[in-house]
Amino acid sequence: MGLKQNLHNFKVKNQDKKWIPAFNALFTFLYTPNETTHGGTHIKAADDLKRTMNTVIIALIPCLIFGIFNAGYQHYLALGEIEASNGFLGSTFWTLDNLIIGAWTVLPLVAVSYGVGLAVEFVFAVIKGHEVEEGYLVTGMLVPLIVPIDIPLWMLSVAVIFGVVIGKEVFGGTGMNILNPALTIRAFLFFAYPTWMSGDKVWVHGAVERAGTPDAISGETLLGAYAQNTELAGIGYWDMFWGLIPGSVGETSKFLIIIGALFLIFTKIGSWRIMLSTVIGALVMGLIFEYGVVGTGLIDESSKFYGLMSVPFWQHLIIGSILFGAVYMATDPVTASQTNKGKWIYGFLIGFISIMIRVFNPAYPEGVFLAILLMNVFAPTIDHYVVQGNVKRRLKRLKVKAA
């Protein structure tokens, strides 16, 4: 008994206090509650929302760990202190030095993301008198993975507060929001601090502070380079696949994202329909650009879009963050389409529009988060038309009878 009994007594004693949701959040973190069914089914399946969210976090952890090492690796590589790693298990990648500098830069992002976000959640739970909901457990993990490594912590805090309050709580909390909170945070950063988020300096640790000095290093991403019709030296397709490239903290390793995707599909937590259809959508748009536009000579090398448009269609999947978006962002069940048929359409359009924005947006060559946010807005519309199909079938049944 001991701890459990003490906590229970404490909860019963204070059950009408205003702050009890905050205590319950911690209590239910340690113990699943003693609640029993009343009315309805007398037994319940083992899964609850905490377990579901936890599964997504498990799927994200490899990306986080890789991101930490990659942060250090990109830093030292840019400084010229280490050799380029030879593949995923290369000797210069999984080193203690990389880990230290990576942890030093990435873990504060995680801490700020969770600390600020959960604080907002707790405040809202206490004000509104409902339980603290689990949605932020995943959002808080996603946020550090989709920001540039050198983002100032105050900027992140402001964005997180904005994202959680405007993106979620004003709609009524987890389950009610229209836009994906993590992407709302990302979008806020992008539009509030555009010079920061779209520069070519923020993607490698140390690039910003060295800018303008003799030690200046490049903090450019692949997409940025492609958009300017140039290429980053020394990066092969396998490096892109393994993730040994600059980029947002956790989205570079396509290999680990695919592992995470398989885990989510296996556990039946993530929607394979959305993941697959997003990839298909991206490939179709890539094909259109490669063969339909560039292939037929509509656009030649003089065009400023040529760099990204001429990319072989399949390479769109390994440059940029389309896979990360497809697996972890587009599949958010609250903001995605809710019908199975709708998920196919929703995912396809995300992939399709992502690549379109990527190619046509010279200022900031990544369209995934914009595409997902856009489709978040249209998801209810897609569902509406899918459900209308069912409704029409029902009405038709009646008409056949009447005739």
């Binding site: 906590l7 229970h8 239910t28 973190f29 340690l30 113990y31 699943t32 509650p33 003693n34 609640e35 029993t36 069914t37 009315g39 309805g40 089914t41 007398h42 037994i43 319940k44 399946a45 083992a46 899964d47 609850d48 929302l49 905490k50 377990r51 579901t52 936890n54 599964t55 339980e131 909901e133 689990e134 949605g135 009524g172 909390g173 987890t174 389950g175 009610m176 296996f266 556990t267 039946k268 937590i269 929607s271 329909r273 069940p333 609250v334 995605a336 389409s337 809710q338 019908t339 199975n340 998920k343 569902d383 459900v387 069912n390 409704v391 029902r394 009405l395 049944r397 009646l398 009878k401």
Partner: protein, 450 residues
């Protein structure tokens, strides 16, 4: 000609404590009770006064909206108490049974009578209460003509009483009831039986037989209706529990309302799960403590199955429609890190560190813990996996919650009953009370549209 119905979507919940196929006569209970709340949406008007004596089959109360609809006593005895609640609402009519049972004799019924005579006879004798209708899942309106009558002879719910077993030897009664009912509908009497079963129902005449297979809810009558002839706006179908056909049949053949019923006592808390012969409304205490549960055990007693049944106190009574009593342990305890550690001993539709998918044949001992807190709807796409009807479950639930009558109507509210949403409620990650939501939605429609 039998037609096959095979469903793929669904979930068989296998539990410990299935009733063994031996029937005992339950120690005769002296106390019976009829609870008007078993008859949803009926407002009772009391006929028999407290202290008076009734015969088995004599009217206790009638429906305020339709005086010809009688509700009768399952036993003969003295009305010992009429329990009332707020605003003098009748909660229960308690009857102390006689040692010698006497029956009100309705006389042998001429099976060739016309529809009006049949209706009057069933209403008068109290057998009408067994006939339910959809839309709304309430006792059927006598002035309606259903486009079909649906009877499920296959119980797929967890720990349900095996209908092949409890109906065995009742062919004559079943046939009589079916013959009469078939005259009340413009369509057919549809009966479903398990594909590999040996049901006494399958040899009846005047029916359309359907062989069903697949996981639960393949045996739900709602599934049968949806697959055979879904209810459209303005149409009505009737449903009757297979076991209640026996009571109707016996009334027609002998003139007596015999409330006797074979009830399964099941569940992991029961030492010796088995079948009992008892009567509607019987006190449960006489059954559950005889080789059943521990006297001071912390158990949940359910009149009905674990998905749709009603919680009753140890001194409570068997429901008017139930043919199973389930007893499972209460789960009112905390579990350390229950939300993230691997789970082997509970059923889960996912594989999120839950391992019930490894052992599909295993029987589980589940308790009443909710395994998590109530939340808003978050997860999508999982209900569809266990919901075989051609309806969008999440959308219709939400429509019920915001009470949009037009939307409820077009999404298929006329077709459903709360029990159709038992499985989606069982697997719901957000622990939402689906059956309650649907019931309240149906009530709103019943009130507004009628």
């Amino acid at each position: 000609m039998s037609k096959d119905i095979r469903i793929k979507k669904g979930l068989d919940i296998k539990l410990v404590g299935e009733a063994e196929k031996t029937t005992e006569n339950a120690i005769v209970s002296n106390f019976y009770s009829v609870q008007p709340e078993d008859f949803h949406s009926i407002i009772p008007k009391l006929v028999s006064k407290e202290g008076s004596h009734v015969k088995a089959g004599e009217t206790l109360f009638y429906n305020k909206d339709n005086e010809s609809m009688k509700f009768v006593s399952p036993v003969s005895g003295k009305i010992s108490e009429v329990k009332r609640g707020e605003r003098r609402r009748i909660l229960a009519i308690k009857i102390t049974a006689d040692k010698e049972q006497t029956y009100l004799d309705h006389g042998k019924f001429n099976l060739d009578s016309d529809a009006e005579t049949i209706k009057t006879h069933l209403l008068e004798s109290g057998c009408w209460t067994f006939i339910k209708q959809r839309p709304y899942d309430v006792i059927a309106k006598p002035d309606s003509e259903p486009k079909g009558i649906f009877i499920s002879g296959y119980a797929s719910a967890p720990l349900a009483a095996d209908l092949d077993y409890v109906l065995a030897g009742k062919e004559a009664e079943l046939q009589a009831a079916v013959n009469v009912l078939s005259k009340l509908t413009s369509g057919d009497v549809h009966v479903s039986v398990g594909k590999s079963s040996n049901s006494p129902l399958s040899n009846l005449e005047n029916i359309t037989l359907h062989k069903v297979s697949g996981p639960h809810p393949s045996g739900n009558v709602g599934t049968l209706i949806n697959k055979v002839d879904p209810v459209n706006k303005g149409e009505t179908v009737w449903t009757i529990n297979a076991q209640d056909l026996v009571i109707i049949g016996e009334l027609l053949l002998t003139g007596k309302f015999n409330a006797e019923r074979i009830v399964a006592l099941a569940g992991s808390s029961v030492q010796k799960p088995r079948y009992f012969k008892t009567k509607i409304g019987s006190e449960v205490a006489t059954m559950i403590y005889d080789n059943g549960v521990e006297k001071d055990g912390n158990d949940r007693i359910i009149s009905g199955n674990v998905l749709t049944g009603k919680r009753v106190a140890p001194d409570g009574y068997l429901d008017y429609y139930s043919n199973v009593l389930t007893v499972i342990p209460e789960g009112d305890d905390y579990e350390f890190f229950g939300w993230n550690k691997p789970v082997f001993d509970k059923i889960s539709p996912s594989r999120a560190l839950t391992f019930s998918w490894l052992t599909p044949k295993k029987k589980y001992d589940l308790d009443t813990n909710t395994n998590g807190e109530h939340r808003a709807f978050v997860i999508t796409g999982s209900y569809e996996e266990v919901f075989p009807l051609d309806i969008y479950p999440l959308q219709i639930l939400k429509a019920c919650m915001y009470k949009d009558l037009d939307e409820m109507e077009v999404l298929g509210m006329y077709e459903v009953a709360p029990e159709d949403f038992a499985l989606t409620e069982f697997i719901c990650v957000s622990k939402q009370p689906h059956q309650k939501i649907i019931r309240e939605g149906l009530d709103v429609m019943l009130q507004e549209i009628g």
